[in-house]
Symmetry: C2
Subunit: 422 residues, 2 copies
């Protein structure tokens, strides 16, 4: 069988099995998740053994140590994965919510109800924990899952799927709602992205090249979880005592993630006062700096070695301790800069002026605006969703962190007594 | 300039101008719509003159009379278009709605607010009224519009855009938020569909070939407004006195639209009682019939000439007075049939049994389920939205009729006092 036949076969099996999800109550899905958590706990040794095989192969292939770390499942991490499943089980059922309700003049009762998508494909990279994290969110929201992980995590993913399916076999939910898509062939990704009518939604999580492939080739609806070139703008009226920790936290707390900041823009009226402190702090934290002319001049007075920021720097998601620093004439210039170089993910403003905050919110076309807070708060857990399947970088359907609700669609239910149109 | 340069240039102009929409109040957008309505009223003669040129060209090209009728703008129709704009102006402002609000344990205030997409492209066919209908919905929801109509309506569309832009010139909204995309080159459609980063959303309205092109080529997010192969299922426990008018209305009220029914499925336990009446009524209404074996046998006893329904018939959106009739063993078999041949648009059940209704709702994976009502009610006006830009046939973002709210996305606003992540 070629990749297309394999993927379409898995999708069909998953769709038939998904009827057990559609027919299930929230309590039944909850029990299924708890069964998965229990099975993970009881088969931890087996999971570790499989993961060891992936790690050994990774070592033999001289995989980058940071990537090896992402691949690694320790006893503690596995316990964390099981805890995550229990946490999702404790969330409110996202299905059957009545989002709108009205009675029309002709007596028709109109309700908009949340329902599952059906079959959702996930394409993701090395981290094997995503196999379970994604599966439990999709199950709790009533969807069957086609999981296409990385070939480097093949052994881990296989045992994790087996563990979850064994757990489901003890419940009212068919194990076939979870399907592992073979990762030994890149063509299975393409097959997923073009399984139109067979797969209802594909969520890619990963590198820029994966996202680019999705944009170019997908015929199935997709939700992009993309790049974050996030900014912190320090306004003329900023409380600089707040601005410093916000910039530092936004950049250095976890530089590898999409909600880390890459650029700080400082209003010219506070630049001379603020930049010496900021540049020194960033430099001392090991952050390599790319400055515009004004910021560079200040850096020179501090004898801090910085580079000149080019258009390429302004548009780069570094993912490491590297940051652009610019001085702007006005809030509007900051917004213009962000419109040019941002990725509509998260933009922060530090200001004590409510009108500045209002303007920045209105003009920043992005998933999340932080007012006097770190960019790092664009996160499903932090925002109280309880779980996150990714951060949407698109405007359609879901924007920003996606929890259970984002994995549902709706049906209009119109109940009448024989009404017809005249 | 090639098509791409033209479209991207228009998109950029529209995006800059859209700042006047972002900065506008609901009242200002309302006034802009009323100005458009007034300008349409006062320049009706000019619109009719332009439309006459399109109609003359259509006649010279021997356009199908039904298509010519769609192209035609009469004094009455133009008054209707202006009335439509006033109706949208009277709707609730879809922007700035707070959809979610909470205070996080760390004191951060979290709000999810509705905001415009930005620049939305519309690709549509002959009807020139769509130029205004779409423009006013997009303006009221704060979006700039790139309107790509049919070349057959070129003169009409040009004057309608000119009328609307003249009206906007008298308001706080920049006329540049409305742009007519040249329709003399099919390449402008492709350029719109691939203007990623320049255009936020494209909504195609039209033929199956246009939809196919969108699916295959679009890299910009799109909302499909697609085909409707809608079914009416007459359950074992149906009130047949309701079932007859529901089927007749669903098929014959306006057969050309997507919410018209193409197939009726009758439970075997009521087939012998119901089908003689139904087949006779459909036949008398001039509906050509394609039957399965059981329905054909009954048709023969009535001496009604019918064809045998093939898989192709079951999957066809006729758009004319033609219908498939089948007998099913159970509600589950009806649902299976619908899953095989439906387009997830509108499915109706006629039943007096609440449990049957519940099952049908749960198992019908579609935009709208009608219980004891005509399929024709899947419609923005009928559902009380006040206006409709199309009926979404997809699960992502919007499902079913789309009004003003569907033309918005959201931003998370997180307001703090210096919070950082630890």
């Amino acid at each position: 069988m070629d990749a297309r036949e394999i993927v379409e076969g898995l999708a069909l099996t998953a769709r038939v099995a998904a009827r057990t999800l559609v027919a299930s109550t929230g309590e039944q899905r909850r029990q299924a998740l708890l069964a998965i958590a229990a099975e993970i706990d009881s088969r931890t040794d087996e999971i570790i053994a499989a993961n060891n095989r992936d790690i050994e192969r990774a070592k033999a292939d001289s995989m980058h140590p940071q990537m090896q770390d992402r691949l690694l499942l320790t006893r503690e991490r596995i316990a964390g994965i099981a805890a995550g499943a229990r946490q999702v089980a404790a969330l409110e059922d996202p299905l059957g919510r009545i989002l709108k309700k009205s009675t029309l003049p002709n007596g028709l009762e109109l309700e908009q109800m949340s329902v599952p998508f059906g079959v959702i494909g996930m394409v993701y990279e090395a981290r094997p924990n995503v196999t379970v994290d994604a599966a439990v969110i999709l199950l709790m929201s009533g969807n069957a899952a086609l999981l296409r992980g990385s070939s480097t995590a093949e052994a881990s993913n296989k045992v994790l799927i087996d563990v979850m399916r064994s757990a489901l076999a003890k419940t009212s939910i068919s194990p076939d709602v979870l399907q592992l898509v073979p990762s030994d062939d890149r063509a299975t990704v393409q097959a997923l992205l073009t399984a139109r009518g067979k797969v209802d939604l594909v969520i890619p999580r990963g590198s820029a090249s994966l996202i680019r492939m999705v944009v170019d080739e997908a015929t199935v609806p997709t939700i992009e979880t993309g790049a974050g070139v996030c900014h912190v703008y320090v306004d003329a009226s900023a409380d600089l005592a707040k601005a410093l920790p916000i910039v530092m936290n936004s950049k250095t707390h976890r530089p590898s993630v999409c909600n880390a900041a890459e650029t700080v823009l400082v209003h010219k009226s506070v630049a001379e006062k603020f930049l010496p402190t900021l540049l020194t702090s960033l430099h001392n934290a090991g952050v390599a700096l790319h400055c515009d002319e004004a910021a560079e001049l200040i850096a020179k007075t501090l004898s801090i070695d910085v580079g000149r920021a080019t258009a390429q720097h302004w548009g780069t998601e570094y993912g490491v301790l590297e940051m652009n620093v610019g001085v702007v004439d006005s809030l509007e210039k900051a917004v213009d800069h962000i419109a040019n170089f941002g990725t509509q993910h998260t933009e922060a403003i530090v200001t004590e002026d409510k009108e500045s905050a209002r303007k920045f919110i209105a003009m920043s076309d992005c998933a999340a605006v932080m007012v006097n807070a770190s960019t790092r708060f664009t996160d499903g857990e932090q925002m109280g969703f309880g779980a996150e399947i990714g951060i949407s970088n698109q405007k359609l359907h879901a924007r920003g962190p996606m929890g259970l609700e984002a994995m549902t669609t709706t049906t209009w239910i119109v109940t009448g007594t024989g009404q017809i149109r005249s």
